[in-house]
């Protein structure tokens, strides 16, 4: 699995968890939204025509809710195919898909109870209604309960049980047209839903789940899954029924997916007749393909100067660099005796010239990028505050002073030497591990080596494959310093798993740095339970200030998202969230001349 896939898998997971957390501030009220058809629509376009978008990875299947197929590229394809209760717009703000669900209301906080009102017209492309049975099945199969199996008796492969494992019950009521309630069940799932054909769904939680907007987004068709199974039933595209604007009309493995308008769609139909996702072996070949008119939209994942320069040669296109939610950062493993000392970590931060790193890497093609001052928000996002201004300017003298205060003495060769510990009497040396084959990170590593030499610290580089780094080294704490990317989603509660105290292994599983601060824990918990956006932002920024003070990690910079599309098309709006650019593809169309 390449680094792109890793980052995207992380994106996907974090988005899924984070999506609903933006809704924390509205947890006690009814949700309504701008609807599925009113966002991102500002240009007049005509109906008909087709478009081709370059996907940069293969698809591993079609059930995005399984760990085997949870990929960003699949999410992009399914944006317009499977029904989602909540989507996220170009600013990362979740909005209710009102063409599917007219309202979501939290009717009780103890126990937390949500009531979904399904549009009675909503139906799958085979004519079966989208109803409470679909909510029940999707909730049960992803619950992670040991008693639940797929139809063949095997354990369901579930990408994330978060939230579903807190659902106590899913009930239905109010069938369409006053029909009688009908019971539904699926082999492998204990029990049944007594009113599966209901258009009102009541979900009751055993424990509060603030991120409820991440649930049922997307949903698989329950009646189809009951026949073909959850784990492998949706590897064949013919079983992928549509519950949205478009349906899959053709798929050739590793080559392309073609979507056409779903004739059964009950709401405002999509504009384009077909949307083709052409699969590329990475990003390098997409720009020439666009130049040759073979694709009309590209969004390279592996962004570099050469790609941007190449794209700048294209004519008749719109290019847009927007701030993404992904950011590079340096992590310090505090189980190391030297990195456990705050002054040492602070010294490394003062010795890091982040402005130089930005200028010599990503700043070459996006001069708007500045050193990142927060782990919770990115520049341009509501709530962003530069909490790291103290570390914005490199300060060699202060770094050296901090190392001295940590018991280091300067050796004759210009490197500090610890007075105790495993490196006693030797040059202070750290090993940085990152992913091999990543030019951006390799450049950062070289700059860090030179910068830290100036403060008397030796840096050795030991890059690993992504599978080794993320599969073994980081989870097992087998590193001193590491460099990789996180995704600071607009849904900040997702950061809790990274920054809360590592001693809480079930909640803070991604805190690989052995960082612990009860004050930070408290602020993160408060933020997740905040009832106003102001207090939510305050809590997270307070937590971030403490993280800067403790120098738990050193954020470097946010990475831009680069999108290029043909000027012939309107309403194409880059979206840095994990819905990707096809988030509003139902509104895309050829510009009306």
């Amino acid at each position: 699995m390449g680094k792109g896939e890793l980052v995207r898998l992380m994106n996907l997971t974090k988005w899924a968890v984070g999506l609903a957390s933006a809704g924390l501030v509205m947890a006690a009220c009814s949700s309504s939204g701008s609807g599925g058809s009113s966002t991102g629509s500002s240009q007049s376009v005509k109906s008909g025509g087709s478009i081709t978008y370059a996907l940069d990875e293969n698809l591993a299947g079609f059930n995005i809710n399984t760990s085997a197929a949870a990929e960003f590229v699949l999410q992009e394809v399914l944006d317009q195919v499977w029904p989602t209760v909540f989507n996220a717009d170009q600013n990362g703000t979740p909005f209710l898909n009102t063409e599917l669900v007219s309202s979501v209301t939290q009717t009780s906080t103890n126990p937390q109870t949500l009531v979904y009102k399904i549009n009675p017209k909503a139906k799958w492309s085979d004519g079966q209604p989208i109803d409470a049975f679909d909510f029940w099945y999707n909730g049960m199969i992803q619950s992670g309960a040991s008693s639940i199996t797929d139809i063949d008796g095997k354990a369901p492969d579930v990408a994330s049980s978060a939230g579903y494992n807190q659902i106590k019950s899913v009930t239905g009521s109010d069938p369409a047209n006053g029909a009688a309630c009908k019971s539904d069940s699926v082999t492998g799932i204990t029990g049944s839903i007594s009113c599966g054909n209901g258009d009102t769904v009541t979900v009751t939680f055993s424990a509060p789940y603030a991120d409820y907007k991440a649930l049922f987004s997307p949903m698989v068709p329950a009646h189809e899954a009951a026949k073909v199974g959850w784990n492998t039933g949706f590897t064949d595209w013919h079983t992928v029924l549509s519950g949205s604007w478009y349906e899959i009309s053709n798929y050739v493995e590793n080559q392309y997916v073609v979507l056409k308008k779903n004739p059964s769609y009950w709401g405002t139909p999509g504009k384009l007749d077909t949307i083709t996702f052409q699969i590329f072996n990475g990003d390098q070949q997409a720009v020439p393909a666009m130049q040759n008119g073979e694709v009309q939209v590209i969004q390279p994942l592996e962004l570099d100067l050469a790609t941007v320069q190449q794209a700048n040669q294209l004519t008749g296109v719109t290019r847009k660099l927007i701030g993404g939610f992904q950011y590079q950062h340096i992590d310090f493993n505090q189980s190391d005796p030297y990195l456990a000392m705050t002054p040492v970590r602070q010294a490394l931060a003062y010795g890091t010239d982040r402005k130089q790193i930005v200028a010599r890497t990503i700043g070459e093609y996006d001069p708007s990028i500045v050193p990142l001052g927060s782990r919770m928000y990115v520049p341009g996002q509501t709530g962003y505050v530069n909490n790291g201004s103290a570390f914005e300017t490199v300060d060699v003298a202060k770094a050296k002073s901090l190392l001295q205060s940590a018991g280091m003495t300067m050796g004759s060769d210009g490197y500090f030497q610890p007075s105790s510990g495993p490196q006693k009497g030797q040059d202070l040396t750290f090993t940085l591990k990152s992913t091999s084959g990543n030019t951006l990170r390799a450049n950062i590593e070289q700059l860090l080596q030179a910068q830290w030499k100036a403060i008397g610290v030796k840096l050795e580089i030991q890059n690993e494959t992504a599978s080794t780094l993320f599969g073994t080294d980081l989870p097992k704490g087998q590193f001193q310093i590491t460099l990789f990317a996180w995704v600071a989603t607009p849904f900040v509660s997702a950061n809790e798993a990274i920054f809360c105290s590592y001693t809480n292994s079930s909640l803070c599983g991604e805190n690989w740095n052995h960082y612990a601060n009860p004050q930070v824990d408290k602020l993160l918990t408060n933020g997740a339970a905040a009832t106003s956006s102001q207090s939510e932002t305050n809590d997270y920024n307070q937590a971030d200030k403490l993280l800067w003070q403790d120098m738990a990690t050193l954020p470097l910079f946010q990475e831009p998202v680069f999108t290029v599309w043909s000027n012939k098309y309107g309403n194409i709006v880059p979206n840095p969230t994990n819905f990707g650019i096809p988030w509003n593809a139902n509104l895309w169309g050829l510009k009306a001349s």
Partner: protein, 325 residues
């Protein structure tokens, strides 16, 4: 001859077996294909265990190899780590690669033999020097450079000039292509042209050099001198005595190279975004997908062994002086 073939075949089986063991161990020890899932705290332990069981990752290495081997001999290569059957994927990618390399090889043979004979007949003259310069140029330029140059400086300018797509730069065919084979043929050709030209350029050049050398040897041979002395027509001397004999070493080289081209089309496939065997193999390596890597290895190894054997047999058939003990 038959005994020789059987002996070579038996050796080949042993080589193939050892190669599968070696590759299996190397890939299995390279890392855990479920590493990303393991690092994701939201993927339940139960899911991980189920995936491990499905991929036999919970078993000792040799048990895993035995499972793979016992399935492979029955033509079943197991599942990819995404739960897809490897067999159908293998043949799908193999067919795509063949679509590229068969026409490329045929054209390269014609070009290589033609250019080689032409250069030999113009030995030392402008035609020979120009031909040899081109041959060494294409031999020394990396494949991806040829591919990119063809795309950027040939195909795209031509398409833009005529304002329609004569050459496609990515993929094997247009999505949702309909009609019978004849109706689809122009689209196939438009997609296949650039990768085939790339493969031809990197392949024909060495064959042309071999052909030139073998032709020069034949021209200088006693039997050609005798044929000329007997007053045979120069064209008859060329076709019956020079080219025919000069083809013997080149034929074996081409047979050996065909298998290498099969495995070596990786770069061409990547540059032109073809989802052939090479691309599939790279994807498999990236995912540490042992069944994919081994399936690729088996096909390419069998092809190399088969074409090596074919080269030996052909050599004996074409040159009666060769005897197999």
């Amino acid at each position: 001859m038959l005994a020789y073939v059987l002996r070579r075949f038996a050796y080949s089986i042993v080589v193939l077996f050892l190669a599968t063991v070696l590759v299996f161990v190397l890939v299995a020890e390279s890392g855990n294909p479920l590493a990303i899932l393991l690092s994701n705290p939201r993927v339940s332990h139960r899911t991980i265990l189920e995936r491990e069981k499905l991929l036999h990752l919970n078993l000792p290495l040799w048990d895993r190899y035995w499972i793979w081997f016992s399935h492979a001999v029955r033509g079943d290569f197991g599942l990819t780590i995404s739960n897809h059957a490897v067999g159908p994927e293998l043949w799908q990618h193999f067919a795509i690669t063949l679509r590229m390399i068969i026409p490329a090889t045929i054209i390269a043979i014609l070009a290589g033999v033609g250019m080689g004979v032409y250069a030999a007949l113009r030995n030392g003259r402008v035609g020979d020097r120009a031909s040899m310069t081109a041959n060494f140029l294409f031999l020394s330029i990396p494949t991806f450079v040829i591919g990119v140059v063809l795309k950027e400086f040939v195909a795209i300018p031509i398409n833009q000039h005529v304002n329609r797509t004569i050459f496609y730069t990515s993929g094997e065919q247009s999505p949702s292509l309909t009609g019978n084979v004849v109706q689809r043929l122009p689209d196939y050709v438009a997609h296949t042209a650039l990768p085939v030209i790339t493969l031809v350029l990197i392949t024909y050049s060495s064959w042309a050099i071999y052909q030139r050398s073998a032709t020069l040897d034949a021209i200088d041979s006693d039997y050609v001198r005798l044929a000329r002395a007997k007053g045979l027509h120069p064209r008859r001397v060329l076709t019956r005595h020079v080219v025919r004999n000069a083809l013997i070493p080149v034929t074996t080289v081409i047979a050996l190279d065909f298998a290498a081209v099969l495995g070596g089309a990786i770069i061409t496939e990547n540059v032109f975004n073809w989802q052939g065997m090479g691309t599939w193999f790279i994807f498999g390596v990236g995912q540490l997908d042992i069944n994919v890597v081994l399936a690729y290895l088996l096909v390419t190894a069998v092809a190399i062994i088969a074409f090596n054997l074919l080269a030996d047999v052909l050599y004996g058939l074409l040159d009666p002086r060769i005897r197999y003990d």
